[in-house]
């Protein structure tokens, strides 16, 4: 589900980055408020634990294939939503920088799709109400599966929407969404069962780790999260509507000029062209003629620059 830089346009990446940065700021304040310095090393080691857990694939019953966990709900169940959000964000940053998984500019969107949707949406809205206050294995399994499915489906929905708004794919929105949602439904169920397997083991051996929180407090927290998300939805929805309706008269013109095709499905074309317009307006000559000589010439310029740098700049050190 990691979005690469290639699949996203600058405006979408910047909006995703801004929302994630704002939520990270809130998470920082929330976690610091707890005044529990033991939480910091636990968060750090849990991040490393998620990496390790992803190394061993479990067998998916009846299919002959195997999968690994993402870990959002697991982290949230143990650390609480905000600390889990910070931990999963650090995992995503390390995956991007060291394991080349996901793009740097797309990082904001990836944090939104994977960390926010699981730890700040699916956990408080689905896992917490289903989990209950006392240890019950069927409830734990149901909560894990439901929350994982909701988290991953929301993430898949966000990925499809961001890619289509970016105007990078020619795939019709409905087809793309159906494809992504059905794949992630299967992944979500596996993720949920795997999360339940680990949580059951912990609940059996160290129940205090999962069931230490005060339920009334968590309900109060739930309300503030719902209000926060309602505001975020209005802001995001409003932003997209603004982009889409910024120049309604020139819509058909811009679809033809920028995408060169009017065959895109109607629901998508208004969004995609809105962003495309912003992108197109930033260039003096946005739709220059693409020709074979232009491409060949550009490649020749590059080979020349490469040869020049190879002559004059020698790599002095090598990484270990």
């Amino acid at each position: 589900m990691h979005l690469a830089d290639a699949l996203i346009s600058t405006p979408v990446a910047l909006v995703g980055g801004a929302i994630s940065a704002a939520l990270l700021g809130v998470a920082g304040v929330k976690v610091k408020k707890k005044d529990n310095s033991g939480l910091i090393p636990l968060m750090g080691v849990m991040g490393a634990f998620i990496f390790a857990a992803q190394m061993v694939n479990f067998a998916i019953p009846g299919t002959g294939s195997s999968g690994h966990i993402v870990g959002g709900i697991l982290l949230a169940a143990i650390l609480g939503p905000w600390a889990a959000f910070l931990t999963l964000t650090s995992v995503l940053i390390i995956q991007c920088l060291i394991f080349a998984d996901g793009g740097l500019l797309a990082l904001g969107c990836n944090i939104l799709n994977m960390a926010v949707m699981t730890t700040l949406v699916a956990y408080p809205l689905v896992f917490k109400p289903l989990e209950g206050t006392k240890l019950s294995f069927p409830r734990l399994i149901a909560a894990s599966v439901a929350a994982s499915v909701v988290g991953l489906e929301l993430g898949a929905f966000a990925v499809s929407t961001e890619t289509v708004i970016s105007g990078v794919t020619a795939l019709p929105y409905k087809t793309f969404l159906t494809l992504m949602l059905s794949i992630h439904l299967a992944i979500g169920i596996c993720e949920g069962v795997a999360t339940a397997a680990i949580l059951s083991f912990i609940a059996k051996n160290r129940p205090e780790i999962i069931y230490k929180k005060n339920h009334t407090r968590s309900i109060r927290r739930l309300k503030s999260i719902i209000i926060g998300f309602a505001i975020a939805t209005v802001i995001i929805g409003g932003g997209i509507a603004f982009l889409a309706s910024s120049n309604p008269d020139g819509l058909e013109w811009s679809i033809q000029q920028i995408t060169g095709s009017t065959e895109l499905s109607e629901s998508v074309s208004s969004l995609a062209s809105g962003c495309g317009e912003v992108q197109g307006n930033t260039a003096i000559l946005p739709d220059y003629e693409n020709s074979l000589s232009g491409i060949i010439g550009s490649i020749m310029v590059l080979v020349f620059v490469w040869a020049l740098t190879a002559l004059f700049i020698k790599p002095k050190k090598s990484s270990q």
């Binding site: 290639a6 910091i40 636990l42 750090g44 260039a283 000589s293 740098t309 190879a310």
Partner: protein, 257 residues
Amino acid sequence: MEFRDQAVPPGINSCALLITTICYLIVMLSVSPTGISMLILFSIFPIITAPICGESYLKIMLRSLWVLPFILFIGIFNPIFDKEAFLKIGELDISRGWVTFASVIIRGLLGMQAILILISNDGFLGLCNSLRRLKVPDLLITQLQFVFRYLLVMMEELQNMRRARDARSYGRDTYPLKVWGNMMGQLFIRTVDRSQRIHAAMISRGFSGTIPTYNNYSFGWSYKNTLYVCSWIAVFLILRLINIPYYISLVTASHIL
């Protein structure tokens, strides 16, 4: 995974490189999906920066191919759904879908190369220092450093558990969900215990909320760094706003083709 020798100063101030890389990605990704020629010219940045940061561009380019499977999955639908003729090579008509497909691949490779160069310049911990300098909250940086430091420790611990299980499973190399769940639960409990030991050790050494760093290379900022960032931004804007491929095509069409 990159483990850079912290005693070697980075080729470029990592703060300056981080700012330049972000500006590069913002400008490069704003190029229209059909602008292949313009995108190709944007690889000037990785080509020039890679050797300064201590890596050959060829090595960076080969490593960036890793991103291909992810972008091919989405990009391959473009030629299928968008068949409008767009480019003519001799008698051959190339559809818009193939052009945007190529552009997705170039964007993916360039984005990945920028990340690889960034990390090879000053290593992950050096980059964390730069982020701290750029006022990213300390809590997130401490968290990043923690995860990075314990990554190998946890992986080694898991490898030991895995080896122990494999040695007793008589050739079965799959992990049924129950076995896997118990193994991960066991690892988790060890993790929690470890974090408590780490916490005690940190408190006894006067931990005040941030992990101190010894690498000071990233902290000096001189007029050269400002010049470096500004000149690259100027280059990016020129590449983006002036239709260089058009002028190149005029030259190549009249002299070569």
